[in-house]
Amino acid sequence: MIHLTDVQLTDAAEGRLDPEASAHLADCAVCTKSVDEMRAVLDSVASVSVPEPSPLFWEHFGMGVNAGIVQAPEPVRSWLPPGALAWLGAAAVLLLSVIGYYATRPSFEAAPAAPAAALGEPPALLDAAPDDVEADEAWALMRSLAVDLHYDDARDAGVLPGPGSVERAATELSEAERAELVRLIQDELKRMGA
């Protein structure tokens, strides 16, 4: 036989057991004994009272609270509605994350000229990279390299771009970022002897 759980025994001792459990209780001597014992202990507990202080005590009680408050700082009165601080905190975390991202990502603005110059290449691609993608000389190189690449070959090589990613790369990279990408590819082509 499955007996009542702790929670059900508590409900039974407090007189609000559900009908199904009540039916079990009516037939189960073990659970009935447990409930009777709980009620007996509760009766003992209830018999212990708190002495009532004098009426004068309550006047002094409030004065004691006020004395404690005088020693404590005033509550800060906020003009913000409740919960606004939590939202402001979340916004601050988000702002710091964005600032942190831009502060720590590799800079495409400052670094690229030196390696290209070291290789004896003119830095024209970097300095003169136009903002117009179609007129961008560096981007034209990218396109010329990719023009003979077949879709199946790219897929087999695992370099297939995701839907929309090429468009995003072309339109969202800054001119300096596009120039840096081209420089990296040119370096790689030279290293491979192409």
Binding site: D6, V7, E37, S44, W58, E59, G62, I69, A72
Partner: protein, 181 residues
């Protein structure tokens, strides 16, 4: 000071946060007995209960601007008071008051022997409650003496209603063992 203010607790809280100190006096007058009794149940003597109850109100006053109005003020105040008491118990074991019911009981017409037995039983129950684990003790006090619903006790003790019922069951079972010793 009798509480004759018709405003609800939450209105008084708003008034207090807006700068009306008198509103907090109303809240103290309204809830001081209940909080004092709660503290007394934890520490078993008048001096500590008074100090703890006053401390609970001072802490509540300081924290009023952070009071989440989704909760009932009394639930929040009870939570502060229980924490104040449990913190005190963690630092210092309180001295329960000595038996003193014989004079008052006999004055009320009860026989001296009967009063002595009743006080002795009460002393044993108080001592047994004091030996319960803190969460069981808090659950027992809030349920058996303050008759708070399980759900509200769960809010005060940061628990669930099911856990409160289970704690209550274990508190009574442990009390029975302690009283049978």
């Amino acid at each position: 000071m009798p509480d004759t203010d018709p405003r609800a607790d939450e209105e008084l809280v708003r008034a207090c946060v807006a700068g009306d100190r008198g509103a907090f006096d109303r809240l103290v007058a309204r809830h001081q007995r209940q909080i004092y009794r709660l503290c007394y149940r934890f520490v078993g003597n008048h001096e500590d209960a008074t100090e703890l109850a006053q401390d609970a109100f001072v802490r509540a006053y300081r924290a009023l601007p952070k009071f989440e109005r989704t909760a009932k003020f009394t639930t929040w105040l009870h939570r502060i008071s229980v924490n104040v008491c449990l913190n005190r118990l963690a630092l210092k074991r309180p001295q329960h008051e000595p038996l003193r019911g014989i004079e008052t009981a006999t004055a009320a017409g009860e026989g001296a022997e009967s009063a002595l037995l009743r006080e002795e039983r009460a002393r044993r129950v108080r001592a047994a409650i004091a030996r319960l684990p803190t969460k069981q003790r808090a659950t027992l006090i809030l349920r058996a003496y303050h008759e708070l619903p399980h759900e509200e006790i769960a809010g005060i003790l940061d628990s669930s209603a099911g856990a409160v019922k289970a704690n209550f069951f274990h508190a009574l079972a442990n009390l029975k063992k302690l009283l049978d010793e």
